[in-house]
């Protein structure tokens, strides 16, 4: 009997795990299933550029089926409940005439598993910050496709005033993104002839403008040279969209004309519904083996974990390779190779600083990043990666 590997979430992590495992394991060793809610794979880093029309030529989404090894079964459906005691998942009933896509037309299904990989990601939770739900439509974000498109429309109608960029909750996906957005915004406003009419105000929760000290030291002078105002120790407590004021836990108030928020994030609903997560729905995950703590045969990766690494495609990418090695060994009853089957906190990402420059952050649990001076080289590398992604990353080729 082949072992049943079920992967929930067809994001970057889940897709890489499926593809590496499918290449290594024979069909009589393992049956690999990916369950994805939409069947569409999103390239979320592309959303950063959308508000500035900077995503021409960038593909932001592709069919998950086209990215998966042909031996991987894709089920398009929503997982309603995970039952680790019985090693099975319950799917929500299919909506269309054909039932649940990928399951031969059945309307309801319970899927058993021997190994489970949870790449269930993060979801935006505006309900976690006072004022966001009531003020819907009167603040902006670039953390969803719809949000980024709406922000693009708002920016294209903008004629000057105060733009505030703020963090609505911790943790959030891609910690450098708000800083990148701020730099790209400054650049774009200059090209539109609106820079002199606009005050840009960047608000950040901790005592410097970015979490990594060396990066903060590098970018703070850039903010100052470009006349971008910043306030640190600003943890957003409330957004008042009537008065157009944002308020912090630390007792400060900042007025705005256009507000760009990083909405609060939470783990997936199914994690909360199954009682597997912490109070925010993040999965308690072993920092090296990536096993979900106190569970048997369950792994977690990417945004879904509670690990102290950035919620990013990059972390998910490196984690996926570790999980794939552990699964392959487990299916064959072998010990995992300690050189490839332990996650060391590896992350590699870029930080756009505007004006066609970027820097690069490479780090792991042991080694802090040593970012190079922002340059055209890293900006071009990032642009190249944005395009090459579809051909090398989901397949697990890099």
């Amino acid at each position: 009997m082949p072992q049943r590997i079920v992967i929930v979430g067809g994001g970057v992590g889940g897709t890489i795990v499926a593809n590496i495992a499918a290449r290594a394991l024979h069909a009589d060793e393992a049956e690999i299933t990916v369950i994805d809610a939409t069947g569409q794979h999103q390239y979320m880093p592309g959303w950063l550029y959308l508000p500035f029309n900077g995503s021409e030529g960038l593909e932001l989404s592709r069919s998950e089926r086209t990215l998966l090894n042909r031996h991987v079964r894709l089920v398009v459906g929503q997982v309603a409940h995970i039952d680790p005691a019985n090693r099975e998942l319950r799917l929500l009933p299919g909506q269309g005439h054909g039932g649940i896509e990928g399951l031969g037309g059945v309307r309801e299904a319970t899927l058993p598993y021997d190994f489970l990989v949870l790449g269930t990601g993060a979801r935006l939770a505006p309900e976690d910050l006072s004022g966001l739900v009531a003020g819907e439509g009167r603040w902006h974000d670039f953390y969803s496709l719809e949000g980024a498109l709406r922000l693009r429309a708002a920016l294209h109608n903008f004629e000057g005033g105060r733009i505030v960029i703020a963090i609505g909750g911790i943790p959030y996906r891609c910690p450098p993104a708000p800083l990148e957005f701020t730099f790209l915004l400054e650049d774009w406003l200059g090209k539109r002839g609106l820079r002199q009419k606009t005050e840009i105000h960047y608000l950040y929760p901790i005592n410097r403008v970015f979490t990594i000290e060396s990066v903060a030291e590098m970018v703070t002078p850039l903010l100052e040279q470009r006349d971008i105002k910043y306030t640190v120790f600003f943890n957003t407590d409330e957004v008042d969209t009537d008065q157009q004021v944002i308020k912090s836990l630390e007792g400060e108030e900042v007025p705005y004309d256009l507000l760009v928020m990083v909405p609060p994030h939470r783990g997936a609903k199914v994690i909360e519904a199954s009682g597997l997560g912490d109070p925010q729905g993040w999965l308690p995950t072993h920092r090296n083996t990536l096993e979900v703590k106190d569970q048997q045969g369950i792994f977690a990766l990417g945004d879904a974990t509670d690990l102290p690494v950035s919620k990013s495609g990059s972390a998910a990418h490196f984690e996926a390779k570790v999980i794939a090695q552990r699964l392959i060994a487990a299916v064959r009853g072998e010990e995992p190779d300690p050189n490839h089957a332990l996650y060391d906190g590896e992350v590699m990402c870029f930080l756009e600083t505007g004006h066609n420059a970027a820097t690069q952050l490479v780090f792991n649990y042991e080694h802090p990043p040593k970012p190079p001076r922002p340059s055209l080289f890293y900006h071009m590398e990032k642009q190249l990666f944005n395009r090459a992604y579809w051909h090398i990353v989901p397949q697990g080729l890099v």
Binding site: I170, I206, N207, P308, S310
Partner: protein, 82 residues
């Protein structure tokens, strides 16, 4: 002097090796979901935490219980007061 053994810790976050988002972000995240009166510990190997963590706790008006050095890292303990 206050001893670690005298404190009841409700939640502990291991932020060792965290550069991004970093130990202070982990502490803020932990404080936010803790009930008022709860005690949070964050493990950090980052020397900068000795300055960053007490500074934020003071700014946010919570109580800094103490910093307890261990082998290669420090356990920072805070109580949520409001």
């Amino acid at each position: 002097m206050l001893q670690l053994a005298d404190i009841t810790i409700d939640k502990e976050i291991d932020a060792r090796g965290s550069f991004c988002p970093g130990p202070l972000m982990e502490l803020i995240r932990g404080i936010k979901v803790l009930p008022v009166g709860g005690v949070l510990a964050v493990l950090s190997g980052d020397p900068g935490s000795a300055k960053d963590i007490p500074a934020w706790i003071q700014k946010a008006g919570h109580e800094f219980v103490g910093a307890f050095p261990e082998q290669g890292y420090t356990r920072f303990v805070a109580r949520k007061t409001h």
